[in-house]
Every structure is written in structure tokens, then in C-alpha cells.
């Protein structure tokens, strides 16, 4: 694929060195359905460096969740095909054996989900569930596993872990359950944690606690974080890099601050402009007209062009993920000529931004 070449060179500088922990190239997922084969994602390219915190953002149906699941090969039975490669620390996860995958899953790459209640087993104590991960992967004795579980519960900020370790999930609040999930996912010291909307089900004050925890743990243990979310605020507060997806493709990849201040893709700009945080109070919110194209009827070329105010003749041609310099990539052939609005254009008049100025 012609596009993969420059992209690969680029992303190495984006990752801060040639040593990416994970390199995803040309990843695509197809499903069998009663209506034929559906291409859910295609040509996904990105790198994650050791200890790096990357946000994957996009609206529902853009393929962000399925991309996270495909890294762990947790895919539904109607999978028709997985294209491309996922090089993780020397192993291609897209082609390795199930046995190899099982040794990596949970130990070197862990995952947490939106709803901790459905990820925890209601009939086992939380201590049992955390220690189980450790015992399966390392085979250490029960007593030692319990000690390390207590230590981990302490690290994720559970008050009085000695009392909580024998609690059942229903005895804990939503925030504590998510802390338990984080403890279980980090107990084996993974190199990468994939977190899919980990705070969406939580209240905003609890969300702030959990995001701070994820940021701190990632920093102190040098665990890379792949944070999948629809919330640009969550990415801004937690991650250093932001990958934007639209209709199954990566459309922009940049440092968070760059993407927020000067987005290069019209879709990223449109999303930022539509946020009520950044618009003058009571004013009309800019919106993106139309809707995401159906997976059954994807247009050729740029998939955003029917909704794009900057679309011109030529946008119907295949769009590559282009090198935009400074470690940035964008899937828009017009990015050099466009000067798109970012978060700052509105910030001067915006309510939330005004708050920042006051002590």
C-alpha cells in the first residue's frame, strides 16, 4: 500500500523514537452478516510508544471499540477477516497463535471496559478475581497472590483494602468497582492498558478521580495507555496524543494540544466547534450537517466529504493518511490549504474557558 510507507516513517518520530511498543499497520476488520460482508474498519495505522498515553476518539460506530478489541483478538464469531498487522513488542498479534495470544492477553496487554459491573463476576469476591489473573499468568502461591492483591488495591486508592478484598462486587460503589477493574488489569504489570470508555458510566467527580489514577499509574509504572472515548475533554486531560477516527478510518493523529488548537481535518474541527464548552453561552452551536455514512453504503474517497464544508472535486479520490510534519498525520488532501478552527477560536467567550482564568 502506497500510503503505508510515509506513514511508517512519520509515526516513528511521533512516538519519540524508533522503538514503538506497538505498531498497527493496515488493520482492517470484516464481518459476515446476513446482508453480506461488512468492512467495519480499514487501513488503520498508528504506533504507541512505551508509557505513552494515546486517546482514540470518535462517535459511536466509528470503529474505535472494535479496534481496541482486535488488538486483543476479542472478536465476535461472525468475523470474516482481519487484515494487516499488529506488531507488539516482537509479536504480530494479528497472526500469532491462540496460545501465544493467551499469554499476552491480561499479562502484557490488559483491557478495562465501560461498565465494571458486567466485567466483574458477581459470585466471586473482588480479591479472588484480581488474584486469579495473577495466579493464572504467574502461578505464584495463593498467599503471595493475596499480598500482592492487597498492595494493588492500595495503589488504586481503595480505602481499607484488608476489609474490601473479601467484598463482592455488589457491595462496592461504581467508582470503587472501576478501581477494582483497574487493579485487576494492572496486577500483572502489563506494558499496555486498553481502556474503553472507562469513566462514561461514572459521575463527573468520580470520573476526575479515576482519570487521575490512570494517569498516575501509567506514569509511575511506564504502562502505555490506549484510551478509547467519545469525550474530547477526557482525552485532553489524560492523554498526550489523540487519534481521531471516522467511519472506520483514522483521519487524524497528532499531539493532543496540536489537535485541539489547530486541527487539520475538517471533521476534528467540526467536533471541537460543536462542543457547548467552547461556544458562547446561549449562542447557536455550530453543528456538522448530515450523518455518518452507513457501513453498508460507504462512499469512495473521503468518507466525510458529504458532510464537509470544504469538500471539492477530487475528494472522491482515495485519501491517504498524509504526513503533516511535526509528527502529525491527516487523511485530507486539502489540509495544507485549509485553516480550520480549533478549541481556542471560541475560548475567549466560552463559559468553561472563562472559568479557567479565575483562580
Amino acid at each position: 500500500m502506497a500510503a503505508a510507507e510515509p506513514a511508517q516513517r512519520m509515526s516513528k518520530s511521533a512516538a519519540g523514537g524508533p522503538q514503538a511498543l506497538m505498531s498497527v499497520r493496515g488493520l482492517g476488520i470484516r464481518f459476515k452478516t446476513s446482508h453480506g460482508i461488512w468492512q467495519a474498519t480499514r487501513k488503520i495505522d498508528f504506533d504507541i510508544a512505551p508509557g505513552e498515553r494515546v486517546g482514540i476518539v470518535g462517535e459511536s460506530g466509528c470503529g474505535k471499540t472494535i479496534t481496541g478489541l482486535s488488538i486483543l483478538r476479542l472478536l465476535p464469531n461472525n468475523l470474516a477477516g482481519l487484515d494487516g498487522s499488529i506488531h507488539f513488542d516482537g509479536t504480530d498479534l494479528a497472526s500469532c497463535s491462540t496460545r501465544e495470544m493467551r499469554a499476552i492477553r491480561g499479562r502484557r496487554i490488559a483491557m478495562i471496559f465501560q461498565e465494571p459491573m458486567s466485567a466483574l463476576d458477581p459470585v466471586f469476591t473482588v480479591g479472588h478475581q484480581i488474584a486469579e489473573t495473577l495466579r493464572v499468568h504467574t502461578g505464584i502461591p495463593r498467599e503471595e497472590a493475596r499480598e500482592r492483591t492487597l498492595d494493588m488495591l492500595r495503589r488504586v486508592g481503595i480505602a481499607s483494602p484488608v476489609r474490601r478484598i473479601d467484598d463482592y462486587p455488589h457491595q462496592l460503589s461504581g467508582g470503587m468497582r472501576q478501581r477494582v477493574m483497574i487493579a485487576a488489569s494492572l496486577i500483572c504489570g502489563p506494558q499496555l492498558l486498553i481502556a474503553d470508555e472507562p469513566t462514561t458510566a461514572l459521575d463527573v467527580t468520580v470520573q476526575a478521580q479515576i482519570l487521575e489514577l490512570l494517569r498516575d499509574l501509567s506514569e509511575t509504572s511506564n504502562t502505555a495507555l490506549m484510551l478509547i472515548t467519545h469525550d474530547l475533554g477526557v482525552v485532553a486531560e489524560t492523554c498526550t496524543r489523540m487519534i481521531t477516527m471516522y467511519a472506520g478510518e483514522v483521519i487524524e493523529d497528532a499531539a493532543v494540544d496540536d489537535a485541539l488548537v489547530r486541527p487539520l481535518h475538517p471533521y476534528t474541527s467540526g467536533l471541537l466547534r460543536s462542543l457547548p464548552h467552547l461556544s458562547p453561552r446561549h449562542g447557536k452551536l455550530p453543528s456538522i450537517p448530515g450523518r455518518v455514512p452507513s457501513i453498508m453504503d460507504m462512499p469512495n474517497g473521503c468518507r466525510f466529504r458529504a458532510r464537509c464544508p470544504h469538500a471539492v472535486a477530487g475528494c472522491e479520490k482515495e485519501q491517504a493518511l498524509l504526513d503533516a510534519g511535526d509528527g502529525r498525520k491527516v487523511r485530507c488532501s486539502r489540509f495544507r490549504e485549509l485553516d480550520l478552527a480549533g478549541a481556542l477560536q471560541h475560548a475567549a467567550t466560552a463559559p468553561i474557558a472563562a472559568m479557567v482564568a479565575s483562580p
Binding site: E59, T205, A208, E212, D231, S274, I352, V356
Partner: protein, 334 residues
């Protein structure tokens, strides 16, 4: 009861006085006071925002406002009149003026009914006009919210989330209500659609003179659309005032923490670093803390906060707060 919200009620479309709503726990041994002594007025033509975390009682207030729930104590007046004192017939027709829209349009629409029949249903139940007139009004409502009329023959599953929410809004409009309670109406919608629906609410208000009670956990949404905001915690209001004041010069420590916890989509240089991370989570409403209910998570809490319930007072014009130390710098007791 202290004279809560003794503000001018001259143009109050809804007046709530010392409202309490309680629920029996499933074992029948305790009563959860989801709303425990709340008083406020909603002024005609305004958007009144209620913000709070889960379990704060904001949804319960919304349902009580349209009498989907009965108050256990206190009163809710519509235009100065208590609807519960009305004869049944009159109460039923009165209710048409006070509508409610919920978060999930999938749950609000019958999957086996076409869009048009869903929009027509309230008119049919109300036996409003002739068949032709009802159809005309349903079409007007659909047109009003930007739905193409040919969507009327479709079923809910054939529409997008944003379109379905528009159907629900159209249905609420058919009976030409005066007030609509909007309970998390954009929470289930994608970012790019959210703006459209919020714009629609603003436009309808301008054109039809509607009053909204906008209930949400989303600060950005509530401060964008509301004239006044009430902040709710564990069954009570802790602060109420004009949006600009509440979101920029909050008086209550909880409001401050809530505002600072909101993740902001701004570059690191602009975000500042003044987050107040609250410890713990909202306590159980079955056994709320004594005195000030926020004291268990408040960094400024003093002895008096456990002993005495803070008065609900108008500290600045039109800006109410329930905190013993809201008028002291840094909430110091001396």
C-alpha cells in the same frame, strides 16, 4: 420551614414549596427521601437548569413537576394552582400543558408503531379536533422539528438517534405545552448531533414561548442553554442562581468541585491546574449525613456543619446558597 426561594413569584409558571418525595426501600424497612425539602420557582419563558450527580434526586424532581410522581410532602403549583386539587377530568387536560422528554428515545417510542402514529397518539388521546386537524397538527409538529414528512411511515429502528429524539420532541409539541421538562435529553446523542438538538430546543423556545426545566449531569450543556442553574446534592439544592454567577463565581464548595472536575477540551496551557478532586462518592440517601449533607466530602467542613443544617439564603441578588461559610473568604469559620 424557612422562607426558601422567597423570590418574586409574580411570573412563576411552576412554584415548588418544600417538596419532598420519598420511596420505600424494597424490604419496606426504610424510606429514601430522594427529594428532601426543595423550594424554587420556574419563571415563564426561561430555561431552568438542574444539575447533579446520579442519586442527587434531579430526575425525581423532574417527574414530580409533571406529576408522574406524587409529592410525599410540600406543594407544586402550576400557575399558582395546585393541580392535585383539580377534579380528575380537569387534571388530565391540565397535564397537556406540562410535558416531559426523557433521555433514551428508543425507550420512549413504541417499536411497532410508525413515527406518524406515535406523533399522533397524544392528539388522539386528547380527542383534539377532527381527524384531518389532528393530522395537520402532527405534520406541523414534525415539520417544526425538522423531520421530513415521509419519515412518518417509517418505524423507529429505521431512524438515527438524533432523528428519534426529534420525533419525541415533535410528539411533546403536538399538544402545545407551556412547559417541557427535559431529562438528560441529549446525553444519549453523539457529539456532532448534540449541538443540532440543543439548537432546536433554543429555536422552539424562541418561537413558541416555551419554558424548559433542563435536567442534566453535563455542566457544559446546562450552562450553555440555561438562564438559571440549580445545583443539587443528595436530595437538596445547594446553590441556585443566574448561570453566569453559578458557573463563574460559584458560592458552594460542591459547585466549585463539580466545575473543576469537568474535563475540558482545551490545550494543557489553557486548562490551569486548580482541580479540586473530591474524596469518595455521594453517600446513600437512605442515611444522609446530619447537618450539611456535603460535609463528608467537603474540605472546609467544620464542627457546625455536622450539627446544623445550613440556611438557604440569598447571599447575592438572585443567587442562593446553603453553606454556613459561603460568605467567608476561603470558607474559614472566623
Amino acid at each position: 420551614m424557612m422562607p426558601q426561594a422567597a423570590e418574586t413569584s409574580r411570573d412563576a409558571i411552576v412554584s415548588v414549596r418544600d417538596l419532598q418525595v420519598g420511596f420505600q426501600t424494597t424490604d419496606g424497612r426504610a424510606v429514601v427521601k430522594a427529594v428532601d425539602g426543595v423550594s424554587f420557582d420556574v419563571r415563564r419563558g426561561e430555561t431552568f437548569g438542574i444539575i447533579g450527580e446520579s442519586g442527587s434526586g434531579k430526575t425525581t424532581i423532574g417527574r414530580a413537576l409533571v406529576f408522574l410522581l406524587k409529592p410525599s410532602d410540600g406543594a407544586i403549583l402550576h400557575n399558582g394552582v395546585d393541580p392535585l386539587a383539580m377534579p380528575r377530568r380537569q387534571f388530565q387536560s391540565h397535564r397537556r400543558d406540562y410535558q416531559i422528554i426523557f433521555q433514551d428515545p428508543n425507550a420512549a417510542l413504541n417499536p411497532r408503531m410508525t413515527i406518524l402514529s406515535s406523533v399522533l397518539e397524544p392528539l388522539e388521546l386528547a380527542r383534539a379536533g377532527s381527524k384531518a386537524e389532528r393530522l395537520k397538527r402532527a405534520h406541523e409538529a414534525m415539520d417544526r422539528v425538522g423531520l421530513a414528512l415521509d419519515l412518518g411511515e417509517r418505524y423507529p429502528h429505521q431512524l438515527s438517534g438524533g432523528q428519534k429524539q426529534r420525533v419525541v420532541i415533535a410528539r411533546a409539541l403536538t399538544l402545545r405545552p407551556k412547559l417541557i421538562v427535559c431529562d438528560e435529553v441529549v446525553a444519549a446523542l453523539d457529539m456532532s448531533i448534540r449541538g443540532d438538538v440543543l439548537n432546536l430546543f433554543a429555536e422552539l423556545q424562541r418561537d413558541l414561548g416555551l419554558t424548559y426545566v433542563f435536567i442534566t449531569h453535563d455542566l457544559a450543556v446546562v450552562s450553555h442553554i440555561s438562564e438559571r442553574i440549580a445545583v443539587m446534592y443528595l436530595g437538596r439544592f445547594v446553590e441556585l442562581g443566574p448561570t453566569e454567577k453559578v458557573s463563574e463565581r460559584p458560592l458552594h464548595p460542591y459547585t466549585k468541585a463539580l466545575l473543576s472536575a469537568e474535563p475540558r477540551p482545551l490545550p494543557s496551557t489553557m486548562r490551569g491546574d486548580h482541580r479540586i478532586v473530591l474524596q469518595g462518592e455521594i453517600p446513600s440517601p437512605i442515611d444522609p449525613p446530619s447537618g450539611c449533607r456535603f460535609r463528608t466530602r467537603c474540605q472546609y467542613a467544620q464542627g457546625v456543619c455536622a450539627e446544623k443544617t445550613p440556611d438557604w439564603r440569598e447571599l447575592m441578588p438572585d443567587h442562593w446558597v446553603a453553606c454556613h461559610f459561603a460568605d467567608r473568604p476561603n470558607y474559614s469559620p472566623t
